[in-house]
Amino acid sequence: MLNERVVIEINRIKSKYHDAQSSLLPALYVVQREYGWLSPDAVAAVGDVLNVPRTTVKGVATFYSMFRHKPMGRHLIQLCTNVACMIMGAERLVDILKTRYGLEPNSTTDDGRFSLVVMECIGACATAPAMLVDTDFYDNLTEERIADILENYK
């Protein structure tokens, strides 16, 4: 299920910790980075490599919102729509993503380019509205700015 590189990496992580359970989060990150999401098979495989019950891995993987349980597009947009961002026009940005890219919250564009997840606060209220694209952070978003930014992600 997991490719050899990933297994080696997980074993390397495992060796750094006193007990296998501690290596769960970093191991799940490795898998997500490689495959874009955590399929049930991948979750089970992580359990098998770490010798942690697969159900325990599932519990951890579903607890943290940064883990994805569906296949995602090449780029993940995490757009905040919490109070500060909402007041500063985040909902308008959601509409734009819909009209321009056909991108609804919690979905992926047909060409597999973008996925959108709306977030509850990413800690950038002072410079709202804000979003993350993959691991890059952008704030003070406007309609034009969001379009320009996204052009950099093919």
Partner: protein, 877 residues
């Protein structure tokens, strides 16, 4: 000394405990939800909040420890308000469908809301919803009701150690789920449903069939499935068992059960129970009255005894029957019929193993407390997976592992996979070489003390003479790397008083007797405590009652004149000094016409002995086959007379578990058969030998006089979780004799199995227990499909994947079943359980008799595996 004041009451404590505990010791009840006595504190529900003077905030009493001078109040206005608020939070998502919920009446949430709760909630938004899950045959999940106390998850994780469920998602969206999201596919112990305080996880067996307040009586009894002997309470309404529940914290199982003990009771009310005696007339079994049946049996037995002599009659007793039944049975065979041909399924492995160890180390050497396992400083398991043979005992090993106690497993044991510090899986039947290597290595590492030498007579001599086997030699034979063996040697040589847990597989080899000897050497060198896995609830009782061809009640050897004379004097007869036939010899005896009559009490020999076809043929040659049973078993179908027995829930009597603990069965419901001892007493009377017992109590009174081991035991003394050996009687403390024990030669230690051949092996099934589980709709619904377990390497070679259909054939026959592929299984063995009538292993497996210990040898069946249909084709069909 710590002094705390709770609600004005001063409490003195030796050592700090939680406030909750301190309060309960003082008789003050603090409400809880997430707390459970079988689990560690969690602090999740905040119902147990209390006010502590000088602490500004309320504290959870289940996690807060007392300190000297602490003043605690448990029911102040502030506390009560807080509890009310907590309950209001819990009710945000809880559906309050009490009228429809089976838990109502014994629901902890309901009780608390009645006591503290708000009458209405203020939360107007919708509730979290999940459809009720019927994915599992015997467990139903309703996650709407879950209050996220995590008791089930902690139970499954930390006590059952199966880790099959977890809390999925977070905050208000979380709920409890198995990995699949649907079916559990777990061990189905049901311990999670014991601890669920609400109706979120419940047994499906009695869904909507009862209300807790309609239960009319509760009967404390012992589980009828295996040799652990867990305490279980049968809840009864009218004449039916509503459910079987554990007693929290009580019994040797301390409130835990396995799937069989919890869900398997429904065989009692199976529609196919026998309800009338049957006599074969015109080739067909036809209904008859009890007296017709007794007259027939007595007449035939008399004729056969007079014509061929008593030794032409054989009797098979049962580990499912009580001590009283079995005692009366052996007396009937020996005293009334004049035959020592008495044995039972205990003769397959348990009794030979015990006899051997007692011969060397003295009586009672296997009578060790199950709780001792998790307190020993090391564990060695060989010959069977305890988590499936004796599940609640298996939990002790898992719990030991959690305490960092080293666990060494030898053999394929999926249930201990995550719990073994050293896991050795030798190639099929090659354990002998491995054991010999362990003995050789330990011999040089451990000096044998004189003191121990006195305890175990002459074993030193034996150990010195066992030919040395090197790690490399053993590694070659077992196909294990010598360094893995060496690591195991290191692990066990540090143990000072380990638990050595032995299953029957290790005996059922051509070298079974050698394995026993090597194990005895190991036990001696390691100063180990022996536990013999036992598949039947009263297997030990069979041995102790003298249902053996060579032992009298109290396990006194027949061959010793003084014991035999004592027995003779008691009954005024003369018992032959030659041992009778073992169960395996009886089958051959029937086949060669030496045995003319077989009396079988509650044992399905056709089903339980390999090569069913041969067994059937042998039985049909006998002139008389009498079967007492609760079901029309494969054996009963061949009988001349069938007598319906009572099941375990319908009668009284005692069982002796694998610790040699005697416990009582209590009658819960009425049945249509007759108690086994009683039917035998009736026949005995017709044969001119009166047995005037009115009840099992009278039988026990006689046992206490006849068996030196049971001296002075009174029936009424056996209460609660009973008592363990050595009772009040006279155990034979010292080893008897090692005379005649052959020292194995180097060749027999290093037999290499042929890598090109594939052998059939027996799977130790968790969900099955012979006839009982076959007739329990609950147990047979868990894993209803026959299967063969095949190692990954072999499967790849034959292009077999999980779910494919395979044909497995051998000289004795062939079967078709689906494959389960497992990477841990060695290449040249396929494991098949014996629980599927004509699709079980015994349709293909053959056996021999081990001439030394007279048990089965089951390592002799070569099979051919062919793939016949892929899983996908089967779906299409």
């Amino acid at each position: 000394m710590i002094t705390v004041t709770i609600n004005g009451k001063k409490i003195q404590l030796e050592k700090p405990v939680t406030i909750l505990k301190a309060a309960s010791m003082a008789g003050i009840k603090i409400p809880t939800l997430c707390h459970h006595e079988a689990l560690e504190s969690y602090g999740g529900c905040r119902l147990c909040l209390v006010e502590i003077e000088k602490m500004p905030r309320l504290q959870t009493s289940c996690t807060q420890y007392v300190a000297d001078g602490m003043v605690v109040w448990t029911e102040t206005e502030r506390v009560v308000e807080a509890r009310k608020a907590m309950l209001e939070f819990l009710l945000i998502n809880h559906p309050l469908d009490c009228p429809y919920c089976d838990k109502a009446g014994e629901c902890e949430l309901q009780d608390l809301v009645v006591k503290y709760g708000p009458s209405t909630g203020r939360f107007a938004e919708g509730k979290r919803t999940h459809p009720e899950s019927y994915d599992d045959p015997i467990i139903v999940r309703n996650m709407d009701r879950c209050i996220l106390c995590a008791r089930c998850v902690r139970m499954c994780d930390k006590v059952q150690c199966a880790s099959d469920i977890s809390i999925t998602n977070r905050s208000s969206k979380s709920f409890v789920e198995p990995f699949s999201g649907g079916r559990y596919n777990c061990e189905y112990c049901g311990n999670c449903l014991t601890v669920c305080p609400v109706g979120a996880i419940m047994s499906r067996m009695h869904k909507h069939a009862y209300r807790p307040w309609l239960i009319e009586k509760e009967v404390d009894t012992v589980c009828s499935f295996c040799g652990v002997g867990c305490s279980v309470v049968l809840q009864v309404r009218g004449n039916s068992i509503v459910r079987a529940v554990p007693k929290t914290g009580k019994g040797l199982n301390k409130g835990l059960l396995c799937n069989r003990g919890r869900f398997g009771y429904d065989y009692v009310s199976s529609p196919v129970r026998l309800d009338s005696p049957l006599i074969r007339r015109d080739g067909k079994l036809q209904r008859a009255t009890w007296s017709e049946a007794f007259i027939y049996i007595a007449g035939e037995l008399k004729r056969i005894k007079e014509t061929y002599g008593g030794s032409s009659i054989a009797g098979i007793a049962s580990g499912r029957c009580t001590n009283e039944d079995n005692y009366v049975f052996q007396k009937f065979m020996r005293v009334v019929l004049g035959s020592n041909n008495i044995d039972s399924a205990a003769g397959f492995a348990y009794a030979p193993a015990q006899k051997f160890f007692e011969r060397i180390f003295g009586q009672g050497v296997t009578a060790n407390s199950i709780h001792g396992i998790s307190n020993s400083d090391g564990i060695l398991v060989i010959g069977g997976d305890p988590t499936s043979v004796n599940p609640v005992l298996g939990l002790q090993i898992r719990s030991a592992h959690q305490k960092n106690i080293p666990v060494v497993t030898i053999g394929y044991m999926p249930g201990l996979k995550r719990f073994a510090t050293n896991r050795l899986i030798p190639s099929p039947f090659a354990e002998t070489a491995l054991l010999a290597a362990l003995v050789s290595e330990l011999k040089s590492k451990r000096r044998l003390s004189d003191e121990k030498a006195a305890f175990a007579r002459d074993i030193n001599t034996i150990i010195e003479n066992i030919p040395p086997v090197s790690l490399n030699e053993a590694g070659d034979v077992c196909r294990i790397s010598p360094s893995d063996i060496n690591n195991t040697v290191d692990a066990i040589s540090n143990m000072t008083n380990p638990s050595i847990i032995i299953g029957r597989d290790i005996l059922q080899r051509s070298e079974g007797h050698t394995n026993l000897l090597l194990l005895a050497a190991l036990i001696y060198l390691l100063n180990g405590r022996i536990y013999l896995l036992s598949e039947l609830p009263n297997e030990q009782g069979l041995v102790d009652m003298g249902c053996l061809p060579d032992m009298l009640p109290g396990v006194r050897p027949l061959a010793v004149d003084s014991f035999r004379r004592r027995y003779d004097e008691f009954f005024g007869v003369e018992v032959a000094s030659e041992p009778g036939m073992s169960i395996v010899e009886m089958i051959d005896g029937a086949n060669s016409n030496k045995i003319k009559a077989l009396y079988v009490m509650c044992e399905d020999i056709v089903f339980n002995i390999p090569n069913s076809r041969y067994v059937k043929e042998a039985l049909s040659k006998s002139e008389l086959l009498v079967v007492q049973d609760i079901f029309m078993t494969e054996t009963a179908q061949l009988a001349d007379v069938v007598l319906p027995s009572l099941s375990w829930a319908e009668k009284e009597g005692s069982y002796t578990n694998l610790e040699r603990r005697m416990q009582m069965l209590k009658k819960a419901v009425d049945g249509k058969g007759m108690e086994d001892w009683q039917a035998i007493a009736e026949i005995s009377r017709m044969l001119g030998f009166d047995m005037n017992y009115r009840s099992p109590k009278d039988v026990m009174a006689e046992i206490a006089r006849v068996s030196p081991l049971h001296k002075d035991i009174a029936y009424d003394d056996i209460v609660g979780d009973g008592f363990m050996w050595p009772y009040k009687g006279e155990p034979l403390r010292h080893g008897m004799s090692i005379e005649g024990i052959d020292i194995p030669d180097a060749k027999s230690l290093l037999k290499i199995s042929d890598n090109d051949k594939i052998y059939a092996g027996m799977e130790n099934p968790l969900f099955y227990s012979e006839n009982l589980s076959r007739n329990s709709s609950a147990l047979s619904s868990i894993s209803p499909e026959p299967y063969a377990r095949i190692g990954k390497a072999l499967a790849t070679k034959l292009s077999i994947i999980d779910g494919d259909y395979v044909n497995i054939s051998a000289d004795a026959g062939s079967i078709e079943l689906s494959a389960r592929v497992d990477s841990d299984l060695p290449e040249n063995i396929v494991l098949i359980p014996n629980n599927f009538g004509d699709k079980g292993i015994f349709n293909v497996m053959n056996w021999k008799i081990n001439p030394v210990i007279k048990s089965f040898v089951l390592d002799c069946t070569e099979v051919v595996i062919k793939k016949i249909k892929s899983a996908a084709e089967e779906v299409l069909a």
